[in-house]
């Protein structure tokens, strides 16, 4: 004779489902905590020490690394550059993404073909893109300068001149990200109900008015998402910069150096992991504060 199992019987189906859900949610949560959050705190801790391979020989230096930042010329350069990349790249990326999405939304034929073409760069490895661009932009043998010469413009050094390199890298990154932006905006556009436009047209609204009062406000969530993701992406820019000038990474003359690349160099060329951790904390604070500001500014509820 089996004993009764009262405890299990009394749990309702809904509770049991919730328990299962929590159990499954716990796995990604644990992953997030241990793989993402915990190392972030470790970086904070590490930034207070001088690095040595043997943990017992790591002297505590307190905030010395944060003081060191104040007189670090290269760090300042990396900060300025990273800011410039973001200020140039994000708006450009949003504008072009939205523009192309609007055009694609207006056509009914071959839309998928166009979308695939725009999306292709996004899934191409950055190193391959860097290689191809360094060929296309070459002053002597590149197709871009070949085209410019048709218009009588002298060959431009693009990646090899400090005054042009940062803008050139930004354009390459924007080009690479464009497909992703287009897909996002296209999805946003297709979520706007047709009846809004029909109703407005009956009221005699112009195309610009349709865009200004219906499309733009209703795209706001996509816009916020794009801006935030784009900003984080540009603030963490690394791979393209590394590969576009492999023998003088971040050059020429530090003109393309980014914070992420500088952190990498401090950590793995100078082996100053404590100082690198301190700069990581700085980058973390910058990303967190910019993202919070963006979310506040951009996601205000729009009246319509």
């Amino acid at each position: 004779m089996r004993p009764p199992e009262p405890a299990q019987r009394r749990v309702s189906l809904a509770t049991r489902e919730a328990l299962w859900a929590f159990a499954f949610l716990a796995i990604p949560l644990a992953f997030f905590l241990f793989i993402r959050i915990w190392p972030a705190f470790q970086a904070l801790w590490l930034s207070l020490f001088d690095w040595h391979a043997d943990p017992s020989k790591r002297p505590f230096v307190g905030l010395e690394h944060y003081e060191q930042m104040l007189s670090d010329r290269l760090l300042l350069k990396a900060l300025q550059n990273t800011l410039a990349y973001t200020l140039l790249g994000v708006p450009l990326q949003l504008l072009l993404g939205l523009g192309i999405a609007l055009l694609l939304n207006a056509v009914t034929r071959f839309r998928d073909v166009f979308r695939a073409i725009y999306f292709a760069p996004y899934v191409t490895p950055a190193a391959a893109i860097a290689w191809v661009f360094s060929w296309m932009l070459s002053p002597n043998f590149g197709i871009v300068n070949e085209i410019l010469s048709v218009f009588g413009i002298p060959p431009q050094p693009f990646l090899t001149k400090p005054s042009q390199a940062l803008a050139t890298v930004t354009l390459i990154v924007v080009w690479q990200n464009l497909g992703f932006q287009v897909v996002l905006f296209l999805a946003g556009l297709q979520n706007i109900p047709r009846d809004y436009y029909e109703a407005a047209r009956i009221d005699g609204a112009s195309n610009w008015q349709l865009f200004r009062h219906i499309t733009f406000p209703l795209l706001n969530p996509v816009m916020v998402f794009s801006a935030v993701i784009g900003t984080i992406g540009f603030l963490q820019l690394f791979t393209q910069v590394v590969n576009l000038n492999f023998t003088d990474q971040g050059g020429p003359l530090g003109s393309t150096l980014t914070l992420a690349l500088y952190i990498y160099q401090v950590a793995f060329a100078r082996f100053e992991l404590g100082y690198a951790a301190a700069i990581t904390v700085l980058l973390f604070v910058i990303i967190l504060s910019i993202t919070l500001v963006q979310l506040r500014l951009l996601s205000r509820r729009v009246e319509y």
Partner: protein, 414 residues
């Protein structure tokens, strides 16, 4: 299950009885080197049945990162391959242990004097299998076509040849006399070769003071930047040709008369160049003037993970890697010059058309004492680029480079 366990125990017992030890060797991923080491390990294991060597490689740009993260976790290599320029940084951060004292004697008496750079603070931290130096690679076909029968011996000859070999079509270059590469090997050329040729010294003997901020240093620096500004040797390699190592690729493509490169480039050029090319010792100021060269090497060091019986096994493997036998094999297989004096003197090597100029150069080559290889390279590259790309005053650019590099040195040695 029981059978598996029993087998495992039996194997373990056998291993214990034999004193079986496994050690790990790391290097970066370079095909000919990886193949050579795989062969060498087979030979070594056959001669030392108690020792197993695990060979692991990583892409060059991830290599130091792997080392930095693995050793503190106790997972990394026992014997590790590293560039001599990284040594002080690695030692300071605790990634290497000093070699037992008796190896110092061997290094001092049997190895090229370049290998002295494997010491930090008087202690030896490893030994090289091979060394490298710089020389002038020239496109014999282009030189002959321009009416030159031999490569340049002095800088004057070099400059007049380079000017004649530079071809422009409108405002584009179609051929360069010399492909300048500040971030290739030219920063070494200025620092180790030109400064000394013009009567200066780049650093103090202990490597802690920058000494090039004087008339000789500035003369060397201006002389180099004038190649582009005054003597019309062409343009920067990377403004001429796309890609990484643009100067070398452009030379291999047959569009450059001369480049200065290391002996490590021999293989790439030999495989790629579809024309007659040659190698010559670096030009000098005038006949009979002082010869100087830059030498460098990759060395094998012991990490703190090699302890107890693993230490003895690791030392045995390291000894094998730098033995005469291995160095001879390395030259054939990888094409790098042996680090042992006895092998460098071999007339078969000094008379070789390609290796000869490099081997002869080794006898008067010096190695820069780097404490922050990327940082110090950047100081020199930037100094040159400020003049060539931004038209800054050479004297001012040179002075600030010296100050910057001194700051890097002070920061390291403080």
């Amino acid at each position: 299950m029981r059978i598996v366990l029993l087998t495992l125990f039996a194997l373990w017992g056998a291993a214990l009885a034999q004193g079986q030890i496994t050690i790990t060797y790391w290097q970066y991923d370079f095909r000919s080197k990886v193949e050579a080491v795989n062969e060498l390990i087979k030979k070594f294991e056959a001669a030392n049945p108690g020792i197993k060597v695990q060979h692991q490689t990583f892409p060059f740009d991830a290599y130091q990162q792997k080392v930095a993260s693995s050793i503190p976790a106790g997972q990394g290599p026992d014997v590790v391959n590293l560039f001599y320029g990284w040594l002080p940084t690695w030692v300071k951060a605790g990634y290497l242990q000093p070699m037992p004292a008796e190896y110092t004697k061997v290094l001092d008496s049997e190895f090229s004097s370049l290998a002295q750079a494997a010491k930090v603070g008087g202690k030896l931290y490893g030994m090289p299998t091979a060394v490298r130096s710089l020389a002038l690679f020239y496109n014999r076909d282009l030189l002959n076509a321009a009416g030159f029968k031999t490569p340049p011996k002095t800088w004057d000859e070099f400059l007049s040849m380079a000017a004649k070999l530079t071809v422009k079509d409108g405002n584009k270059f179609t051929q360069l006399g010399y492909a300048m590469a500040p971030d290739g090997q030219d920063h070494h050329l200025v620092r180790e070769v030109l400064i000394r040729q013009f009567g200066g010294r780049p650093y103090s003997d202990d490597g802690r003071k920058v000494l090039y901020d004087n008339a000789a240093g500035l003369k060397a620096f201006t002389f180099y930047t004038d190649w582009l500004k005054k003597y019309n040797v062409g343009t920067l390699g990377n403004q001429f040709f796309p890609g990484n190592n643009a100067y070398r690729d452009a030379f291999i493509a047959g569009k450059v008369g001369m480049i200065i490169d290391g002996s490590f480039a021999i293989g790439t050029i030999r495989n790629g160049a579809k024309f007659n090319w040659g190698v010559a010792e670096l030009p000098i100021e005038k006949a009979g003037a002082r010869k100087v060269n830059y030498g460098s090497f990759w060395m094998h060091g012991l990490t703190p993970l090699a302890t107890g019986p693993k230490l003895a096994a690791s030392l045995k493997f390291l000894e094998f890697l730098v033995s005469e036998e291995t160095q001879r094999y390395w030259l054939e297989k990888v094409g790098e010059l042996p680090a042992r004096k006895s092998l460098i003197k071999d007339p078969k090597l000094t008379l070789d058309k390609v290796y000869g100029p490099f081997v002869i150069s080794l006898s008067y080559a010096k190695a820069t004492p780097f404490v922050d290889e990327i940082g110090q390279r950047k100081v020199m590259t930037d100094a040159i680029n400020r003049v060539l790309l931004e038209n800054k005053d050479p004297a001012e650019s040179w002075r600030s480079a010296a100050a910057e590099e001194q700051k890097l040195l002070d920061n390291f040695w403080k």
